[in-house]
Amino acid sequence: MMKETEIKKLTDMVADFVGHIGKKLPDDVVAKIEELGSKEDAALPKVLYETMTKNQSLAVELDRPSCQDTGVLQFWLKCGTNFPYINELENLLTDAVVQATFATPLRHNSVQTFDEYNTKKNVGKGTPTVWWDIVPNSDTCEIYAYMAGGGCTLPGKAMVLMPGAGYEGITDFVLDQMTSYGLNACPPLLVGVGVGTSIETAALNSKKALMRPIGSHNDNENAAKMEQLLEDGINSIGLGPQGMGGKYSVMGVNIENTARHPSTIGVAVNVGCWSHRRGHIIVDRDLNVTCDTHSTWKFEA
């Protein structure tokens, strides 16, 4: 293959995957929504879960995005330094988003700031968002793709606490955000909590936390314990589906952490709505692809 052909193949692959995650939820989310829905017995939450489930089947049947807000596309890359397309990757992702925007179709969600106009192509200055993790001596590339909708982006918040506030302060920070903004962000939510030294380290950790599978746990024993405590705590509030009351509030709480300055505790919350559209693929140097989030996705070039 000429390199141009290969670049086109990778672009088509990403565009196809982006379109797919807009129409079909990842396997872990589907299972969790089904589980939480089956545990409700009051009339209102039952009607809501039934409508949500019906919507997901209709989306597949009619081949349409399941939620109209297909978000700003965000990619987190774990890219090997020897991945043959590392130089082309960032431009190729932008091309893939434009391609998916017209093919899927996706909503036009890129408004240029200060000039305040919608580009009508779903890409703009700095969008799609791309975060890079460089993996030395590897020749594969992992791509997390996420549709950051407006509703689930709005509750996002980061701040730097004084150490005196402790992990009790983190608890307050997370729980207070659930009852103010979280209930409008389409519960049951996946809650991503980032802990680090400054706002941007905490914020990026909180987004990475949302990429982890539901039911997975932080490697650190205390962090994993806090995930469970927060999950049980937020569930006990009973936000229910759509924030209108029910037995549960969240699909899970994932914490990602990095070290901190002795004088600071950076903390951030990012939430994923019940329609948590994220996917993960691993591409090798020959462009063979595997996907561990969507058993429903098959790519044919």
Binding site: T51, N55, L62, Q68, P163, I170, L183, C186, Q242, G245
Partner: protein, 210 residues
């Protein structure tokens, strides 16, 4: 007008203040007739810049929503609704009292709760706020019969005013009624009590700084 169809309570536009008097928070209802998408910039244009809406919504419904639409092949300017779910209503809260006063809109559909401005508008002018289950955009799109008109296209796909004819659009859960009662605010009192109890349970377990 209110119709009962197979046990479903269906509001049919034009809707009067009288039609809404027995509808209370927590009720599940449906809508037939005129529903116009209307969100951030349209509210700002009307309230802050005093621009008149190009489509009359008196006694009709608006939908806080920014859809995905697709041009119907073979037509110059006709669109089909592909995917249209509600957006966060709270963003329109700062404008909604003036907006309701100026337009005479009767049914406001969106997602999540709204605040005191909207409560006041609902009580004073006889309107309601309802929630369409968020994230259920394909269900909503299939309940749109057709897009009759569209205006302010220069705002881009999400912000354009898409004037839809809908049939048994719902389920709509009433979140603010004409008495000004607010389901989310009432729920929040309960949520906050439970939240405080949860915090007290968590604190002693997270004393990681020794």
């Amino acid at each position: 007008m209110v119709e009962i169809r197979d046990g479903k309570k269906v509001l049919v536009t034009p809707v009067s203040k009288e039609d809404l008097k027995d509808i209370k928070i927590g009720d599940i209802i449906w809508l037939d007739g005129d529903l116009m998408t209307c969100r951030d910039v349209a509210h700002r244009r009307l309230v802050e810049y005093g621009r008149e809406l190009p489509y009359d919504i008196k006694d009709k419904a608006i939908f806080h929503a920014g859809p995905i639409v697709r041009k119907i092949e073979g037509t110059d300017d006709d669109y089909e609704m592909v995917s249209v779910g509600p957006t966060t209503s709270m963003r329109m809260e700062k404008f909604e009292y003036e907006f309701t006063k100026e337009t005479g809109v009767r049914v406001i559909v969106g997602k999540g709760g709204m605040g005191p401005n909207t409560e006041k508008a609902c009580k004073e002018f006889g309107a309601i706020h309802c929630v369409f289950p968020a994230g259920c955009a394909v269900v909503a799109a299939t309940e749109v019969e057709y897009v009759a008109e569209h205006h302010w296209d220069e705002l881009g796909m999400p912000e354009t005013l898409w004037c839809c004819k809908v049939k048994e659009f719902g389920p709509l859960i009433v979140s603010i009624d004409t008495d000004g009662r607010n389901l989310f605010e009432e729920q929040k009192v309960i949520y906050n009590e439970k939240k405080e109890a949860a915090k007290q349970r968590i604190y002693p377990e997270v004393k990681f700084i020794k």
